[in-house]
Amino acid sequence: MKTINILLSGVGGQGVLLASRILSEAAMVQGLDIKQSEVHGMSQRGGSVVSHVRIGDAVHSPIVPDGQCDILVGFEPLEGLRHAHHVKAGGVLLHAVDPINPSTVSAGFATYPTDLDEQFARFACDTIAVPAGELAEQAGNRRSANVVMVGALSPLLEFGPTVWDHALEAAIPAKLLQLNREAFRLGRHLVCDKHGLAG
């Protein structure tokens, strides 16, 4: 199997690292090799965060090479757009629709882009907008928007039917599992419906 390159980008505190963990667990359960890379510390304080996940038969580097990303998951629209140029032609860009203002915008030093759709359209990839916050609320807690995004990504990876269940169980504390299973399901269905895939 050819290596699949996935980038997960968002804002520190959104749960990008937990999402990466679920994805990594799933790939391992599927029996694939996996390398994942993230940065902790300073960048977690509300700054931009990006996590690289690479899965395949044998993966060396934990970093997605420039312009070689197959799937980008933006947990926030601006953070999706920031990495959109890494997605290769024909790749998929999933992004949550709920904006979070960077401090530079709140402080009035910069403005949040108002032409997101046009900007996304510039890139030669398939863009899917996910109302992650709304679906997470529907599942029971807005904070599970990260797991909605993992659900939305899941149909794009041809993993076995029970793989994601195992991965969610491994990565999420028992008391939050039910809620997050629902968040995952809602994200997955959204993309399945849009693309006519089997749920």
Binding site: H60, I63, Q68, A84, N101, T104, V105, A124
Partner: protein
Amino acid sequence: MKQVLSGNEAIARGAWEAGVRFACAYPGTPSTEILENVAAHYAEDINAQWSPNEKTALEVGMGAAVAGARTLVCMKHVGVNVAADPLFTMAYTGVRGGLVLVCADDPNLHSSQNEQDNRNYAKFAKIPLIEPSDSQEAKDFLKDAFELSEKFDTPVLFRTTTRISHSKSVVELGERDELPAAGDLVRDPRKYTMLPAFARPKHPVMEQKLAELRALGVTSPLNRVEPGDPKIGIVSSGITYQYAKESLPEASFLKLGLTYPLATELVKEFARSVEQLIVVEELDPFLEEQIRLAGVAVNHGKDWFSICGELEPSRVAERLTGEALARTDPAGGLPVRPPVLCPGCSHRGVFHVLRKLKVFVAGDIGCYTLGALPPLESMHTCLCMGGSIPMAHGIAKVIGPTAERKNQVVAVIGDSTFFHSGVTGLIDMIWNNGNAVVVIQDNRTTAMTGGQENPGTGHMLSGLESPQIDMEKLVVALGVVPDNVRVVSAYNLEAVENALTEELAKPSPSVVITKDPCVLQYKISETPYGVDRETCTGCKQCIKVGCIALSMTEQDGETKAEIDPAFCTGCSVCAQVCKFDAIVR
């Protein structure tokens, strides 16, 4: 059994499998999670603790090793600077139980004040250096490191980088080596008591050990030749091996795990088998210099791969293959998203007051270093752990007494950093009749690295209770006049300002402790504030406290402040700043 583990998790596992019985560290990105994982998963078998700083951690570790236990000590790269004093002489004494010092370097300064290449420490301290290139090796090589440590009677430097420590990969787990108990203490002053007469004969012994290690490297499984296309031979180690291997999988590789002392005979043999020798390494030409010194020609090394920052796998691939990757231009004009103090952070109000007072602020290492960035912009130096107080003292000594705010100096330091090495700086200031105001931002945790306990929190790494070191009594005992020690709420801006103004006017050192816990670690959340749009004049004063819960929004043609209740923790700092009482609950 297989698990997806980060390098740090794998090191913790490796320590357990290696039969380690004692582990200690001071938290520092990217090394922190090693001890956290030891404490979380292996506490039954490994006695683990945080130390107040890296020097004491290494010394405590040395005590444990001298008592016969296999011992793990962890720190970030700059921490080794703090621990360098015991490290260099431990190379003379040797150990009893194996001792491995894990140091996590941070190329590209993701969360550090410099990007020094700590491989140089191995050469400088004359100890063996081992570098893993993924999580499996992080676990397996750590066991090898303990064996080398005991066999050669030396501490071993085990060096990771951010991309090893914080990358995850699949690891095949093993079982724990149950080692016999250490037994009684051994008295051997010629080995452990480094008087000149006892230390002098140790130096040639160390040199002999290095020569033996150099020879061992030729056959050690830590190093391996991966034969391939003889046109290109690549020498690499650590994460850069992975980048090179992915770029040119068909090339010949000399993949090094034991990178000091370098197995020069192995390198020579490898060089003879290939047409071109290329050294791929991050930061300093550590391998390249050793290889050239051995008389081996290097076709490309630092002429191709920058000495600064992280190597990017794409750039490595382009260099090695000679083919440019197709790149698309990024979206332009996007607002940057720098890290910020959390909404409700207890540091914010203090920096607002410092900015208002226009004093010179000597800062330190922690979340509060973000007080240097816009819009707060009220920290003017940050050098190293504990550097704030002695720098303030030095500045004040040169400036002399002054009533001019712009030349008055305030040191700002967090609680964990104060216990790490701020205390000695304060002793310096008091002893030498210095005078500056020291603000200790006591948020009851080591916040920047993710909320670890410190000597003031009353808990240890294990979570068990321990004596809480009383900061107020400590500074008074050191000699700060009791009237000059002020404890104020970090959220009461008036109290912070009054305390600072009063203490700045005094002729002897003062300590102002702003005491309120970290909102993130203690999960503090009170009723959010809101903006009364009728009363708000749109003056933007509240925006200048730099909180992401606040923004200016336009409605009916008027731009007014707005608070996002999802982010607001109800800390009240912006409400206190508002001159029009427009921010209300």
